[in-house]
């Protein structure tokens, strides 16, 4: 039994491939939990970051610096009355958020957090990922249609048109990245997510820098298309609050609404991980070519722990800056506790076996986090596109550009 448990830890493949059901389930559980935490954290971070961009403080009341705000929100949503419109199509209305959430979570089956840190490694991984994430539009269309109301219907129509349009540009960018994987001596490319990262490792270059500027352009096409795919500003037309009140989820409330929320954020994380995997070297640490040798390995392996310690330090700084007043005692203690938690994690990450086991995951998550920050930044900066302009960008700019990049990549690759 113990052998069965530890067998995977010694293997150099993913549990799915090894046929190790136990570890696969463990991974699934970990990903689910991690994703939920990430979404909660994103909620808090988005509000804080946006607030600081807009010269205000954001949530400050629930917990120190509003740290418990997302949990309060979640509680509020859970105990809120769940309204279903009288004329709605009950079954479809009920199904829609589930479909969206399911698709958003299913894609994480193949996301490679590390060389062995994925539930499984499909040989059609990227195809699977793009395909399944495109299914989420079904959920949105179902939600819009089932609400039996005008604004959701318009939102659903917009959403389906938008996602179908941008999927093409996205697909072209993805294909050009896949082409780059086939530049080895055997000439065999791969669709496997892990294979793609390994190809970057083997070619000693992240694909974003490959065939400069082709990789870069493909990456930017994908970066724009992924914002549109996830219905985020400035492409958030399906839920444009000033036009359609809330778009396809106008009629949703309470728990169902929170499922949409969850799905939106996990979809953002999912497409970000595609981008990271395809172009930004997945779990590979930066400068793995120029800064080599044991010493540098050592230094880079310390960074995860150090960064957590830095977070902890920030917490303690906050503790010292708290007003010294009775009313703030709980808050101060809470913040200090949080700092201790972070510091503990940081220290844990210094333990050598953990350190080497986890740094892949750290680098992957750090890259995804940067991408998520970009999402927030866009939202704080850009006005919203109009629908026809959005279509114009999709069809007249990104699509030809994508085709061009694809053709050029193929050409350069052959040469």
């Amino acid at each position: 039994m113990l052998d069965y448990i530890t067998s995977y830890l010694r293997s150099d493949t993913t549990p799915g491939q090894a046929g190790n059901i136990l570890w696969a389930v463990v991974y699934i559980f970990l990903i689910f939990a991690g994703l939920s935490v990430a979404v909660i954290a994103m909620n808090w971070l988005e509000r804080k970051i946006l607030a600081h961009m807009q010269v205000r403080l954001g949530p400050m009341r629930v917990g120190p610096h509003g740290l418990l705000q997302p949990i309060a929100d979640a509680l509020k949503l859970l105990i809120k009355e769940d309204i279903m419109p009288a004329e709605a199509d009950k079954f479809v209305f009920w199904m829609a958020p589930l479909v969206v959430v399911m698709t958003a979570f299913t894609v994480f089956v193949v996301v490679p957090f590390g060389a062995t840190h994925a539930v499984t490694d499909m040989n059609i991984g990227i195809l699977f990922m793009v395909g399944v994430s495109s299914l989420s539009v079904l959920g949105i269309v179902m939600a819009g249609w089932a609400s039996n109301s005008h604004y959701p219907l318009i939102g659903a129509l917009r959403s389906s048109a938008q996602m179908v349009s941008y999927e093409i540009a996205m697909g072209l960018a993805v294909v050009s990245a896949i082409l780059m994987t086939s530049l080895n001596s055997a000439g065999t490319g791969t669709l496997s997510m892990i294979g793609i990262v390994q190809a970057q490792q083997a070619q000693h270059v992240w694909f974003v820098f490959k065939f400069f500027p082709l990789g870069m352009i493909a990456f930017f096409i994908f970066a724009i298309a992924m914002v549109a795919e996830t219905n985020r500003a400035p492409f958030d037309l399906p839920e444009a609050e000033s036009e359609l009140t809330a778009g396809f989820h106008t009629e949703y409330s309470g728990f169902r609404w929170s499922l949409f929320f969850l799905a939106e954020y996990s979809a953002m994380i999912a497409v970000s991980s595609i981008a990271v995997t395809l172009w930004l070297g997945g779990w590979l640490r930066p400068f793995s070519n120029s800064l080599t040798g044991d010493t540098w390995e050592m230094v880079f392996s310390l960074i995860p722990g150090l960064s957590f310690l830095a977070f902890a330090a920030m917490c303690f700084l906050g503790v010292f800056r708290m007003p010294k007043h009775r009313a703030f005692r709980m808050q101060t203690m809470g913040l200090a506790g949080f700092g201790v938690l972070l510091g503990g994690i940081g220290l844990l990450l210094f333990v050598p076996p953990v350190r080497y086991r986890v740094q892949d995951i750290f680098w992957f998550s750090a890259k995804v986090a940067i991408s998520m920050y970009m999402y927030i930044w866009y939202r704080g900066t850009f006005p919203r596109y109009r629908f026809d302009q959005l279509m114009k960008v999709g069809w007249k700019v990104l699509l030809p550009l994508g085709i061009g990049v694809l053709v050029l990549t193929a050409g350069v690759g052959v040469l």
Binding site: D89, N123, G131, L135, L138, M142, L157, V164
Partner: protein, 169 residues
Amino acid sequence: MQPVATTFFFYFLAALTLAGGVLVITRKNPVHSALALIIALLAQAGLYLMLYAPFVAGVQIILYAGGIMVLFLFVIMLVNLERSQREEQFNKQWLLGIIAATALGALFITIFVRGRAIFPVHIAAVAEESNTQEIGLMLYGNYMFTFEIASLLLLVAIIGAVVMAKKRI
């Protein structure tokens, strides 16, 4: 990736497929039909996976479930008429049609049963790992010409659809 519990999954997916099919042709509301069809298609993608055809399965999901069905839903919403749901759902020849279709099905089954010997029980193992690559080689090798024709067909379909659906060219 080895399929697990093959027998169970086969019957499960086959039942899902057929149930989806039945729902497609019996639902009043076209949206429900479409959703049932999507379920059938996804179950079928599972069957493909069991047949060691992951690429086809992927294409099935991305094109059928993600593309064509969205198109269907889109159109259904555009032309959704309450009237058509209140009206008679089956046409005048429905009895005749069912009889003919059943007869056809019966014939198929008869032939399969009679010709059972042709189909081997033991299926030759196909390398799943290189499935995508081999399909790619075939598409661009043996079936080059067909592939080109398919692309032409798609082009014509695009133009045709645009011409028909656009109000003013």
